[in-house]
Subunit: 360 residues, 2 copies
């Protein structure tokens, strides 16, 4: 029998959504002319229960861990890069640092399972569950207990930030090999074929791509029994420690009625696991962007999400989530700050006139 995670996700506030929708119709613009920003303003109202969803306190959870499968030629980068990039995050030199500075977001860097002794640093949360996962091609990545522990760490991180007035959570990842683990997770949870899910990650060549596909096929076969038990077991079987941490961040942020902006492929895999554990969590998700990684579209469709941006990104770290923040802000600001037709003395769209005006 599947193990479970106990968590209560509140339903969306339908009343606030109706109010937001009604206000959109009164703003000085043609109906629906702000397109997806209008829908986004309504979704955000549903999540937070207010039309003026606060967005000032924005935190990117960039979780890092290593993957046993990285030793099997599935990445264009050596495994040491995970630890090196964590140091780069702490020095403020990575893309996520630059973009977070631009967007006034704070980056929480956490080590969920990097296979290196990282130096103590005031900005690094050390939550190492183990030094990397075991290779998913030979057995489970981790025990169910370890998966549960990593989820708990992610929940802790989100809870701490909620206590510090978090307004919006953003997910990010770092882990050489983690597109392979994410692809395996997605295949296991959706029954899609690896050829439709496994992509080039950081940029493997054709041979590397074939190795990745084969690694995923092997992982699914070797771990079939554990996978069959449920989402938590599947996460333990073929997932990763940073992915499990993100599952926890997503669950806890949604439980606290905070919007969660999902980054790309790896975050998408975590979002899919979170939604299998607690389906209502999907109502709190916003897809930041459409990743170039094969299989991301399938994940988004299953979560019922349409990404806000489509910029051919495939970097991770949380970059595609942070880039979407100005659109969330634009959605909330237009809903709240625009004049209504009444206030501005602007003639409303005259449906009747449009229908009846003579063909002159």
């Amino acid at each position: 029998m599947a193990e479970s995670i106990q968590i209560y996700i509140p339903p969306l506030d339908e009343g606030a959504m109706r109010q937001a929708e009604a206000r959109q119709a009164r703003l000085t613009k043609p109906a629906a002319s702000l397109g997806r920003l209008e829908a986004l303003s309504i979704s955000l109202a549903g999540m937070t229960g207010r039309l003026d969803t606060p967005l000032a306190n924005r935190v990117v959870f960039t979780l890092a861990a290593d993957h046993g499968v990285a030793l099997e030629g599935v990445s264009a980068y050596p495994r040491e890069v995970t630890a090196q990039m964590v140091l780069n995050f702490l020095n403020g030199g990575a893309a996520i640092n630059v973009l977070a500075r631009q967007m006034d977001a704070r980056v929480v860097v956490a080590d969920l399972g990097v296979d290196a002794d990282l130096p103590a640093h005031p900005d690094l949360r050390s939550l190492k569950v183990r030094r990397g996962t075991a290779s998913i091609t030979r057995g489970p990545a981790m025990s169910v207990r370890e998966a549960r522990q990593a989820i708990g760490h992610g929940r802790l991180l989100a809870r701490e930030e909620i206590a510090r007035s978090l307004d919006v959570a953003l997910t990010g990842d770092m882990g050489i090999g983690n597109t392979t683990a994410s692809a395996a997770l997605i295949c296991a949870l959706t029954e899609l074929d690896p050829k439709d899910v496994v992509g080039r990650g950081t940029g493997v060549d054709d041979e590397g791509l074939e190795r990745k596909r084969q690694a995923v096929r092997t992982a699914l076969a070797v771990n079939a029994e554990l996978i069959s038990k449920g989402p938590l077991e599947t996460l333990a079987a073929v997932g990763g420690l940073e992915i499990a941490g993100l599952v926890g961040v997503i669950l806890e942020a949604a439980a606290g009625r905070r919007p969660v902006v999902i980054d790309g492929f790896i975050s998408g895999a975590a979002a899919l696991v979170a939604a299998r554990i607690a389906p209502a969590v999907a109502g709190y998700m916003i897809a930041g962007h459409r990743s170039q990684e094969l299989g991301h579209g399938a994940v988004l469709r299953r979560l019922g999400l349409t990404p806000l941006l489509d910029l051919d990104l495939r970097l991770g770290e949380g970059t595609g989530a942070v880039l979407a923040l100005p659109l969330l802000e634009a959605a909330v600001r237009t809903l709240n700050e625009m004049a209504t037709f009444d206030e501005a003395g602007v003639s409303e769209r005259d449906q009747e006139a449009a229908h009846n005006s003579p063909h002159n």
Copy 2:
């Protein structure tokens, strides 16, 4: 013989583009993983000749004018709305005001030909060429001399802002009936059929859409001779005064090597005219978003532009241009502020290892 506009558009700085491209390859990220942001950073370097393109001083040129064709049942809104919306811009209540405040942009509102006596206002530039165009279904919208005058006004506005250290220009429009004029312009310049270009604008019903199509067909037939002479004459024949003003803004900003972010359908029509007058101007254009208006895609393809955002917007005013500003900033910041592999001590992607690693 076609009349012409004398303007020199400097070529893009190929050296700066090569430098930007070389730097992109050294940044701590997989090659091309920042997708379109990388290409954008290179384009911006080409426009301004520097890797750290300044973007602080951002101005939206929201030009307004009326259209004779608006009296022929082609819009869901009455013609008075043009003037009412200009007042709304001046009061800060329109979508463009809200978004410009968010993005730290200034809105320059100019009356190029509104058919109303607008009150004097410190934030309104009064550059009325005439009180609205004549209906394009009965003859030319304006004289070639008036079109030239409106272009000159747009150039003046851009020149004034360049003197005040403009960094980036954004185009915007307001004019009931201007999707009809823009569709006619686009058909005239591209020889596309009205059925593939004319859309619902602010939201006309099926009957209104058919009236718009018919108005465009009639306008093209009535003005065929003038259209055949050249882009300036075509603009006079079936364009609009705010569209002509935008042509001037685009030409002058490009002449001053400033990036120009093009809003949606109406701005796209202006961009197409500008590129027919001076083809090199297209190198300075960035498409802010993909408009919902039918025919916008065809315009972008002809200009060689791919829009940054695709949010089902169809509002105009400059909203789809302003929303793209954070992406320009992200492109410039990542290029300039990210650490290189050397600086960060991160192992580079090992092509050889990727090709030769054993299938273990």
